[in-house]
Every structure is written in structure tokens, then in C-alpha cells.
Amino acid sequence: MMEGDSTDTFTGNRGLRLEEPLIFEQDAPGRSGVDLPEPLPVQSRLGGLDREGAIGLPGLSEPQVVRHYTRLSQKNYAIDAGFYPLGSCTMKHNPRLNEKMARLPGFSDLHPLQPEATVQGALRLIDTLAHWIKTLTGMPAVAMSPAAGAHGELCGLMTARAALEARGDARKRVLVPDSAHGTNPATAAICGYEVEAIPLTSRGRVDLSALKAALNDDVAAFMLTNPNTCGLFEDEILEQAHAVHDAGGFFYCDGANFNAIVGRVRPGDLGIDCMHLNLHKTFSTPHGGGGPGSGPVVLSEALVDYAPLPWVVHGDEGFRLVEHEGDAAGAAPYGRMKAFHGQMGMFVRALAYMMSHGSDGLRQASSDAVLNANYLLASLSKELSLAYDGPCMHEVLFDDGFLKGTDVTTLDFAKAMIDEGFHPMTMYFPLVVHGALLMEPTETESRESLDQFVETILHLAKRARAGDAQAFHDAPVHTPRRRLDETAAARRPILRWRPDPVQGEAAE
């Protein structure tokens, strides 16, 4: 067994790498990190449902809580600390101006149901962001409420279904490329559709003849990601749109990869009917370890009337929210996606980002994103096995062919990258190539950063081919925890702490 370093310490800490137990293991009854006044004694009006017995929450002081979460943070990789070449995630720099603006009390300390006269600035912000989004995408309308990309996919597909049912033409199938992200078929199933997969050509694009063969009057929609999940622009997209429309279906675009084409290509010009955006990818709102995101959906003329509630309108007396069907002036919204109006906190951040870049900067950002990805393609394809010939868009796809015969898998390769100080690229996605490695540098990586990355990848590839498989199997060795037993975690799930001595022994 290899170790990062063999010096054991008394505490188990290693210098700045500090071990930290759970908060539940630091409890002292009666202790609290908040000072609250004594409540006035009143007669309870809780209907006899007063809580009896302890909840079981631990008591810690403020210094302990701050230290606890500080130590936890130190075990995380982050964009602020290093490069994340994660394909289709667009791990670009998260500007702090965004954070400052989102925290203005005039945005953060507003209740969604305050009288509209008291929140005109908030409605103006949503309207302004909507304008930027519509202009960048060339689409007439945008539904702002979906809370994340997958939620936006659901919104897009539901809008399409509502439109089809309104014209008495409910259909049963949705077409999805083999290379689609898992949210696409999952979303289609929630909308009550059967999913049919369309194969790709050897060039990594959707097979147009297969698409045409599958299209008929029972296909409600074709869901495409463009640029696609292989990092390539679907060059036959105009023909695809024609074919889908000729068959009477709707063309949904998954906008996760919009970062490649912002300011250069408008989805509206491609014949797209609905497309979700990921504000937490393309528009720099922070990933936060798993959210929150925001997934506004742009809509074509054919779908505008069916957009979900609520939306912002501008009238003679200022901005208003349309929150009910009765107020919708002839539109036929299919429903509501969540409580209240949408992810306002992310709207502020995204607008701050867009205004900072401006029209010229956004176009430059896409250009740099694509340049950086092609730089990786050119620098790495001599050692790694490129899946499809370039040029690529904002991300580049390799398969594990270059590791053949080395006994090193894509996973092992990724774990070795961790020891070198990089977060791994996206692995095993898309499913259409074997052992996929999908790399997206984004425009916020410097040349120096990319060069260091390239040299490291080339070094690792050479090491793997030289037969050093054991080192890859043991990796990572320098992280706070080494490889973890995911089988045990799934066979006997421990999903919460319990004050039970048996707790720690279940995993094997």
C-alpha cells in the first residue's frame, strides 16, 4: 500500500490538513452559537401539539462552528483553487461582483409577495435579464422560473406538449441522440413520452437519415444538445430543424453547451423552438457544490402562449407579474414550475456578469473558450486518442484507446490527475465512446494554466504506457481521503448519523 507520506502524527492531522469529526460528535447540552432573548411567557396556542422530548441537535459555540466548516472547506477542490476541465459543466471563474450585487438588501431582503409597487426594481432586473437572454438567443420569449437545467428541460418539453394538445395533436414519442445527457430521457418520461434513441454518424453528429426515418406524426419533439455532448457543432442542424418541423414536431435544444456560441450563433436562427440555459454554467453563477442553479427557457413564437406562470410584463404603470391564468391575456400557460417567481439570486448574478462582459466581451469569451479547447485538442491528440476529428467547439472528447494494454482505466487516469492537483475531466460520458474523457477548459483559464495541464496529461499518458499501472491503481495518495468504498456505501447505506455504537462498523 502506497502512502503519500509515511510520517504518522499523534492527532492524525498532517500540517494544514486537519481531521474534523461530525458536529453531532461535538455536542455539549445547553451550548449554543446564538444568543437569543428569553421569550415572553404566553399561553401556548399550538393546539396541544407542543413538541415533547429532545430533537437531538448538537450544541456548539460560534468559534467551534466556524472552525468546523472552515476545516470542511479545506477538504474541497474549487475553481478558486484550480482547474476543472469538466466537459459540459463550464467551470469558469465565478466573479465576486456577482456575489456583492446579489447581497444588496434591495434584492436579497425582498419577499416575493410584496405589493408590486414596492419591488419595481426587482421586476425591472428580471425584465432586463430576459431582454439580454432573448437578444443573445434571438428568441421572442423566455420562461424565467425553472430552477435548474433539468427543470428547464421539463419546462421546454411540457410547453411543447401543451402546444400539441392545444392543436388536438397529442403525440407519444420523443427522439433523443444516443449521446444525450441522462436528464433528457428522464425528463421525457416525466412528460409521459416514450423515448427513442437516434444513432450518431462516424463524425460524431446525429445521423440525419436515421433522424428522418424515425420522424413521423407520432413524434412530439426531437431533443438535441448543440454544440453536442461530443463537443462538436451539429453542422446539419438546419436540415434537422426542417425535418422535425415538416413532421409537425418541436425542436428542443439542451443549452448546456451554449458557452461555445454566445454572441456568435443564435438558437433562434437555427430553427429551435425551446432551449434551456444554465445560468450556473454559461453565465458564471457559482456551482456551490451542487447548486443552486437557474434554467430559464427561451421559446419560439409557436410556443410562447403556453409558457408557464409567472412572467413579468411592462405596462403603463410599471412592471407587473402575471401569476394567474385569468390574468394571462389570452395565453394558455400549462401551469407553474415552482413556488414564487424563479431564482432571483441567480438572476442578479447572471446580469452582473452579462453587463460586465457586454456584447463584445461575451463574444470574446466564446471565442476564447473554443480557442482553448482546440489548443488542448492540438496539444494532446498526439498522445491521447481523439474520438472525432477537429475542430471542436468549447470541449474536446478523447476515448481510452490510448490506454489499451496498460491496465490503466479512464478512472485510474483521473485519480492520478487528482494527485497532480487537477480535478479530473468528465469521465465515461458521453456513452457513445469507450471510457470517455471530455475536457472543457473555458475561457477563464490562462495559457500558463493550460500548458501546465497539457504537460501533466502527456506525462501521465507516457507513464501509463510505460507500464506503471500500480501507481495509477493506488491513486490518489495525497488527498484527505483516498479511494472510498462505494460498493459498501450502496449495499448497506448509512445516510445519517445516529447515536449508535454500531454506526461506524457497517462498511467493510
Binding site: 413538541r51 483553487a81 425582498l110 433539468a150 456551482h287 460586465s356 480557442l371 481521503r481
Partner: protein, 446 residues
């Protein structure tokens, strides 16, 4: 541009390495007819100062909750968040980290999610909880989907005490799935007999606790009726601070708890981002949507955490997934966890006690002023019946610098029986002076 590290010299050199004449040539797959040659018609780039100025002006057009006497609830309750919370969540390793798919470099995220899951299970009185949903309303809708999977039945019964946005969101998510949704009328007087609506095809009954009119009711009889009929009880909560004072839903037989967690750790944010809580019984864990952090050991035998039971999720199960959810509400869950860690058992209970005590005080003042309070039980929200429609009253009071509450007609317009009802919430942030001003202003209106 300050976010773009590449210099023109870099760009030139890199094109040389690529062997391409220009960046435009890298876009050769884009059909010429759709490849824009100019930036789109939007303002050009701006420095921080200019952006700040523009956005600050927009923010200044709004009346923030903390600047006036404030009594709005109706699904979003204003609480004081300790200063440490926002500082900690802004640490770059939390703010700018990714979903913990590589556990070796994400133990911080995975450990706090495990703590979050435990806290949610403890306060709701349930066995297991997930790592968050988008918000309480989508959590409620997903609970309905889960109940359908578990019971293999199609239909859902929604209480008339459920927040209308939650009702609408649930109806929307089920819209294209074969499901009959029985929505009970608004339960203003707290008299609905929801058990009478349970039928053979009922997958679940969904009730809110406290309900949208503030009322608190024993859920055990409803749980019993559901279980006898083979259906599940889903309990929705809009205000989880109530769990510091009230019996937990788990203690009263709930099968799923779908709640809005935002009251703890997160600001009002004009409606988003919020944080959905989702908790259930051990036996249903594989039918739960959303991510789960689980405990395990690494190769050195040290305790650590990983995302687990992932095969339920979209990236593996695809069209047979329990949900399509991918990104959820991680940073908001972290804020929740930190705030609740600071409060602890005693702080949480005291916070709830203060909320309830102030609400009792205000209810008594209303009674003394002749203003009718409709709900006889409550945690921190009252339904008032005014002598005239509530919406114009609220608008008038807003002009006088008081945010008096939410008219029920804002959530359910066009119903004359509801037009005079006003929802008034009281939290620890409300002062005696605030209450004086509200009472005086409403007395004039009543």
C-alpha cells in the same frame, strides 16, 4: 477584459500551435447563414463601478423587508441569520466547488451534506433525508410522484390548506401522467374532512402543517386513515422553524415530509434560490429522488463520505430514473446546516418559542382592537378577516411604510369568500413598535 486571461499574443501563438489561420476558422462547422459577424445589439463591456451603479439603482427602487415593519409569510418567513453563515458559505472552496462526484477532493461537501441529511431527519422526525431539492413546492410535487411509485397507484388528494403555489406545482408535474388530482376547497375554517376523500386509487394525501391559514392540526388521524387504505401521507411544511416548537410530522405517522427549508440560513431573495427538504422512512429510501451522501471507509480504513444510491438518478437510470433532478440547492443547504449548527438544540427551540410568543402577543392585540383572527391555533402565522378586501388595504399600508402581510387573494384571486382575508406572519425580527404600528393601521381599516 478582467475575466479573460488570454492576451492577443497568447491567442496568436495558440492559433499557431493549432494550425488554424483565425478563431473564426475554428467555427467552420457553423453554417455561414447563421454565423453572426458582429456582436449582438446589447451594451458593450463595463467595469465594476458602472455595473454596480446600474444594479444598485435597480435595488434602490425596492422597499427591503428590513427597512419597514414587515409581516409577510405565506410560504416565506423572514428570520435573522447570524453573520458567520454568509461568511462561511462564501469561502471559495464551498462557493466555487462542483458536485462531489470525485469524493477524494470533495469530503467537505459530502460531510456537510451528511450533516444536513441528519439534521433534516432529526427535526422532521423521519428516518432519512436527501441532499436537498429546488424548493418546498417541487419537493411536494416529487413526493406525489414517489407515492405513486411506492403504492403503484395513480391518484393524489390535496388539502385545502396547502399553499396554492404548491398545489399548482404538483398539478403541473403530474399533468401528463395518468393521475386524478382531487383538490379540496380552501380550508379557511379548518373543518375539512380529508380522510373522506381517500379512495382505492389514492397514492397519497398531501396536507400542510401548519396549513396556509396558519392552523395547526393533529395529523395522526389522517395518517391512520391513509395507512388503513394503503395510501401514503405526505406532510408539507412552509415554515420549518415551527419544528422547534411543534410535534414532528414523523411523530404523527407521516410517510414523506416535503418542506421549504429556506427559513433557516437563507435570505428571502424575492422567491429564489430556496431549498427543498425531502425526508422519508427507511423502507422507501430507494424510491427517493435527489442525491444522497452516504458514509463509508477509504482504502486506509478512514471514515469518509460518497454520493450513493446513484443508480436511482438520471445519469444512470435515464428514462427510468426516480426524478430528472441533477443540480439541486447545495449552497443553500450548507447555509441551512451552518445556521442550525449555530442554533443547536436550545437555540432552535428558543427561536421557535420567541416566534410563537410574539405571534400570541399580536393575536391578543388584534383581539383587543376588534380585529378578527380566524385561526384558533397557530405557530407564527395568523389569518385576519378584515371588513373590506385586503389587497387595497395592504397597498395603502405599503404607501405608509408598512408591509402588512399577504392578502389571500394574491394567491387565490377571484374568490369573494377569500377577498377579505389577510395572512400575517410574526417572527423574531418583529418589534413591539412594529406591532403597534400594524395594529393601529389595521384598526383604521377594520
Amino acid at each position: 477584459m478582467r475575466y479573460l486571461p488570454l492576451t492577443d499574443a497568447d491567442r496568436h501563438d495558440m492559433l499557431g500551435v493549432i494550425g488554424a489561420p483565425s478563431v473564426d476558422s475554428l467555427f467552420s462547422d457553423v453554417p455561414d447563414s447563421v454565423h453572426l459577424s458582429e456582436p449582438v445589439d446589447l451594451p458593450a463591456h463595463q467595469g465594476e463601478l458602472e455595473v454596480e451603479r446600474a444594479l444598485t439603482a435597480m435595488a434602490a427602487e425596492n422597499i427591503s423587508a428590513g427597512s419597514v415593519p414587515f409581516f409577510l409569510g405565506a410560504g416565506a418567513y423572514r428570520h435573522h441569520v447570524p453573520a458567520s453563515v454568509d461568511h462561511l458559505i462564501q469561502r471559495g472552496e464551498f462557493l466555487t466547488s462542483y458536485t462531489p462526484y470525485q469524493p477524494e477532493v470533495s469530503q467537505g461537501t459530502l460531510q456537510y451534506l451528511f450533516e444536513f441529511q441528519t439534521q433534516v431527519a432529526l427535526i422532521t422526525g423521519m428516518d432519512v433525508a436527501n441532499a436537498s431539492m429546488y424548493d418546498g413546492a417541487t419537493s411536494c410535487a416529487e413526493a406525489a410522484l414517489m407515492a405513486r411509485r411506492v403504492t403503484r397507484r395513480a391518484d393524489v388528494v390535496l388539502s385545502g390548506g396547502l399553499h396554492p403555489h404548491y398545489t399548482e406545482t404538483t398539478e403541473t408535474l403530474l399533468k401528463f401522467l395518468d393521475s386524478t388530482i382531487d383538490v379540496l376547497p380552501p380550508d379557511v375554517e379548518g373543518e375539512e374532512d380529508i380522510a373522506a376523500h381517500i379512495a382505492d386509487g389514492t397514492a397519497c394525501v398531501i396536507v400542510q402543517y401548519p396549513d396556509m391559514f396558519g392552523r395547526v392540526r393533529d395529523l395522526q388521524p389522517i395518517a391512520d386513515a391513509c395507512h388503513e387504505a394503503g395510501a401514503l401521507l405526505v406532510v408539507v411544511m412552509n415554515e420549518v422553524v415551527a419544528l422547534g416548537a411543534l410535534r414532528s410530522p414523523g411523530d404523527m405517522g407521516a410517510d414523506i415530509v416535503a418542506a421549504e427549508g429556506r427559513s433557516i440560513g437563507n435570505p428571502l431573495n424575492f422567491g429564489g434560490p430556496y431549498v427543498g427538504l425531502f425526508a422519508t422512512r427507511e423502507k422507501f429510501v430507494r424510491q427517493m429522488p435527489g442525491r444522497l451522501a452516504g458514509e463509508t471507509l477509504d482504502v486506509d480504513g478512514k471514515r469518509g463520505w460518497v454520493l450513493t444510491l446513484s443508480t436511482r438518478e438520471q445519469h444512470i437510470r435515464r428514462e427510468k430514473a426516480t426524478s430528472n433532478i441533477c443540480t439541486n440547492s447545495g449552497l443553500c443547504a450548507l447555509a441551512f446546516t451552518i445556521h442550525l449548527s449555530l442554533l443547536g438544540e436550545d437555540g432552535f427551540r428558543r427561536l421557535a418559542a420567541i416566534n410563537h410568543a410574539k405571534t400570541v402577543q399580536l393575536a391578543d392585540r388584534f383581539a383587543a382592537a376588534g380585529i378578527e383572527v380566524v385561526n384558533d391555533t397557530f405557530f407564527n402565522e395568523l389569518t385576519l378577516r378584515l371588513a373590506e378586501p385586503a389587497e387595497p388595504v395592504v397597498d395603502r399600508l405599503a404607501k405608509d411604510g408598512i408591509l402588512a402581510g399577504v392578502p389571500v387573494s394574491r394567491l387565490r384571486p377571484g374568490d369573494a369568500a377569500l377577498a377579505n382575508l389577510l395572512l400575517v406572519a410574526v417572527t423574531e425580527t418583529v418589534t413591539d413598535n412594529d406591532m403597534d404600528r400594524l395594529c393601529a393601521a389595521l384598526k383604521e381599516a377594520a
